[in-house]
């Protein structure tokens, strides 16, 4: 089977676009990715569109009506916070299978001002505040407290994740927020669900990102070898049964299963990575995924934080884009935006926040319900 490459990739700066439609945002990202690859929409054989809130309303077809209604197959998908990664992986699968040589994956979401997410419709009365909280900040706080119970992780250590990611975002012109948030400011921000303060929760924003996915044959034909990023692994996993998962979504097992499948597919391990963009929907979550992705041994995440190993310049930089905490989290776009970030470093184009000499990077997203998407990317050959 052919190797599969990202031939072009782009994202819009995350933020607020009250005057813009979903298809307009998605279309702009798609055109950006096509320009990056030097292709036209007429070269694209299929489109995979991810949008959690819009998946049932044909976002892919609406995007094509904006940028070129060529009549190609379109798949629209939703898969919680793994929506963008799922759309990308559907495109990867089709190219890997030899069905197409050039497809487009677009992730888009309008989420600015959406308020706190979580909880669902229920019959009778709402159980919120009676049977605990189903809000996302609480669900991920409980997962973090499980780690605290096992390993003594402190509120301050969780808060340091937010300090780091906000610092990284000051170097990313496409981040929603670009401001330093000192530790005291993070810890003294409004407490949402202990230990997650407001600055330890991801930001609801509008955003779009897109990638042109190419076969090896197409990359050579187009002379893109010096720019094309190889997809060494593309993995999607859901949650196997674990005893508490009916009331406490198990983001750990799902991520660990996806990671081991990714190592097997890529023929590499966590120590081979130069950078990671992982799903820091809440500061507590990033801590768990250090261990889930094998960036350190189980129980060593607090030490990783104290040693600043995951800061830019550290042993294994994590979320140098600013992450979901500061760059923002437009759900459907998130999984392609983190591919954009890693690809940008692998091409040496990340400017001030460049991870020097980056050759191999990993992206990770996880959506509750539960699904995990992981991609391992390799730098262009020359």
């Amino acid at each position: 089977m052919s190797d599969v490459y990202i031939g072009g990739i782009d994202m819009l700066a995350f933020g607020k676009y009250p005057e813009r439609s979903v298809e307009s945002l998605g279309g702009e990202a798609a055109l950006g990715a096509l320009d990056d690859a030097g292709l036209s929409i007429r070269d694209v054989q299929a489109l995979y569109a991810g949008s959690l809130m819009q998946a049932s309303a044909n976002p892919g077809q609406r995007i094509l009506k904006e940028i070129g209604q060529t009549g190609i197959p379109v798949v629209n998908c939703a898969n919680a916070c793994a929506t963008g990664a799922t759309a990308f992986r559907e495109g990867w699968t089709a190219v890997k299978a030899g069905l197409y040589d050039a497809v487009l994956a677009v992730g888009v979401e309008k989420l600015a001002g959406a308020g706190m997410l979580g909880g669902g419709g229920s019959k009778g009365i709402s159980s919120e505040g009676l049977l605990g909280s189903d809000s996302m900040p609480c669900v991920f706080a409980e997962a973090g407290m499980e780690h605290a119970r096992q390993y003594g992780t402190t509120f301050e250590q969780f808060a340091m994740i937010s300090v780091k990611n906000h610092h990284h975002s000051t170097m990313n012109p496409k981040a929603r927020y670009r401001m330093e948030t000192p530790l005291e400011e993070v810890m003294n921000a409004e407490m949402i669900s202990y230990p997650n303060t407001k600055l330890m929760c991801s930001v609801n924003v509008d955003g779009a990102a897109a990638a042109v996915i190419l076969s090896e044959k197409k990359v050579k034909e187009l002379g893109l070898s010096s720019r094309a990023v190889k997809v060494r692994a593309s993995v999607l996993m859901t949650d196997p049964y674990t005893p508490r998962d009916q009331v406490m979504p198990d983001v750990n097992t799902c991520t660990r299963n996806a990671a081991s499948a990714a190592w097997e597919m890529a023929g590499v391990g966590p120590t081979d990575l130069d950078l990671v963009e992982l799903h820091d929907c809440f500061a507590t979550a990033e801590v768990l995924h250090y261990e889930n992705l094998g960036l350190c041994a189980d129980g060593d995440a607090p030490k990783l934080i104290d040693d600043r190993d995951t800061w830019l310049g550290g042993r294994i930089p994590v979320n140098v884009s600013g992450g979901l905490l500061s760059k923002g989290h437009p759900i459907g776009a998130t999984g392609i935006a983190n591919l954009y970030e890693v690809s940008t470093h692998l091409r040496g184009d990340a400017g001030e926040r460049q991870v020097e000499g980056a050759r191999l990077g990993l992206t990770h997203v996880i959506g509750l319900g539960t699904c995990c998407g992981i991609h391992v990317l390799e730098a262009p050959s020359s």
Partner: protein
Amino acid sequence: MSDDAAAAGPLPIVPYLKLPEGGDPYLEGHRCAACGAYFLGQRDVCGACGARGRMEAVELSRNGELHAYSITHRSFPGIEVPFVSAIVDLDGGGTIKTNLIGIDPDPEKISMGMKVEVVFQIAPRKDREGNEYMTFAVQPANRGD
């Protein structure tokens, strides 16, 4: 006949809260006879091992241990805060999520691993038709009430 609803008493907040006529409320789990996995709520197929027709209804223990928690200070509109959202492993099997009451919502006061017990109480809110609901919470064990 007009007061049938009232005569029937409160409704359960979730289907796995059982309110037997003339008996004490209890939480019902379903246990797979093939693999031993526990579930809240009725089902015919085991989500853990896929066995069919092996699920057995079991009364869950009222005693357990606090596995993890969060203190929710901001919830959805209209919900009274703060409250402690708790994950509780019940003795003998089954895990529930509910409010931890009878303790200050303060991380200094709450210890993971502490023994708790399930208590049943009338919910402070009604549905649109005015029906009353029975809910449950956990509180530190051995309080003597």
